[in-house]
Symmetry: C2
Subunit: 147 residues, 2 copies
């Protein structure tokens, strides 16, 4: 497992008022400052797969505030890991370069995504084969540096 | 109307994918950097009033990603304004010092709140009479400065 994928982890956020509210503070509950928030609705996305890209700069935290969805990561050797998002105070942290797919949205799903970067289309790798080439190049370069 | 309350306004966030997703970027779609995100559920809050405080430092953007709620602002002269939150891409911006109450949560309500500050209990004014005194003191001081 390369170091980017080794950094993927589930996070738990503080709840208060008997679970009536949840708080997420940048650099405290998650590993980055929050530049951008976006949210994806289950309505219109049931049966679809979102994401399907890797990011050269952006890190993400994903959590479902309502309903359920799943996040699948796929590495350069096609190893897959699936994270189920079904608790409003539990999210998954994805470092940069991780290939991600979001799917199995329930009709009532609201998937919140926090990121450390503004939107910049040039940092998105949208073709899986391109991602594999770029990831293997990075791993090879880091391997040389570490020798 | 004092200058804090004059700054309250409804904001509209960019939608994409036929309304299937909404994006909010700090300092772009809202007037501040996002330090903290919290979310309040309708479940357990139907019939309750949340908020009931003013903040010396924190600014807020509130929006319902699911269901409905209302935000009422009350100024030092007890003038009230009510904002209905029922569109996932429309939020209300509240500058610092604005007294706010959130209520009329539907059972399925998920009220998202973005703020420019980490939680700090010392910046909360939780008594309305204290708020009136402090606001009138600020207005008087600014009035002197502007003479």
């Amino acid at each position: 497992m390369n170091r980017y994928y080794a950094g993927v982890k589930m996070l738990s956020f503080p709840e208060y008022d008997d679970g009536g509210a949840v708080v997420v503070e940048g650099l405290k509950d998650i590993p980055f400052e929050i530049k951008r928030v976006f949210y994806i609705f289950g309505k219109g996305n049931v049966g679809t797969v979102r994401g399907k890209h890797s990011n050269r700069k952006s890190e993400f935290v994903l959590f479902n505030v309502k309903g359920k969805s799943k996040v699948k990561t796929i590495d350069e050797d096609k190893n897959e890991v699936i994270y189920e998002l079904n608790e409003p105070n539990q999210g998954v942290y994805l470092p940069k370069m991780v290939w991600k797919e979001m799917y199995d949205f329930t009709e009532d799903s609201v998937l919140m995504v926090l990121t450390n970067e503004y939107y910049d289309s040039s940092e998105y790798i949208r073709d899986f084969d391109d991602f594999v080439v770029e990831m293997k190049r990075i791993i090879a370069a880091e391997s040389v540096q570490n020798q």
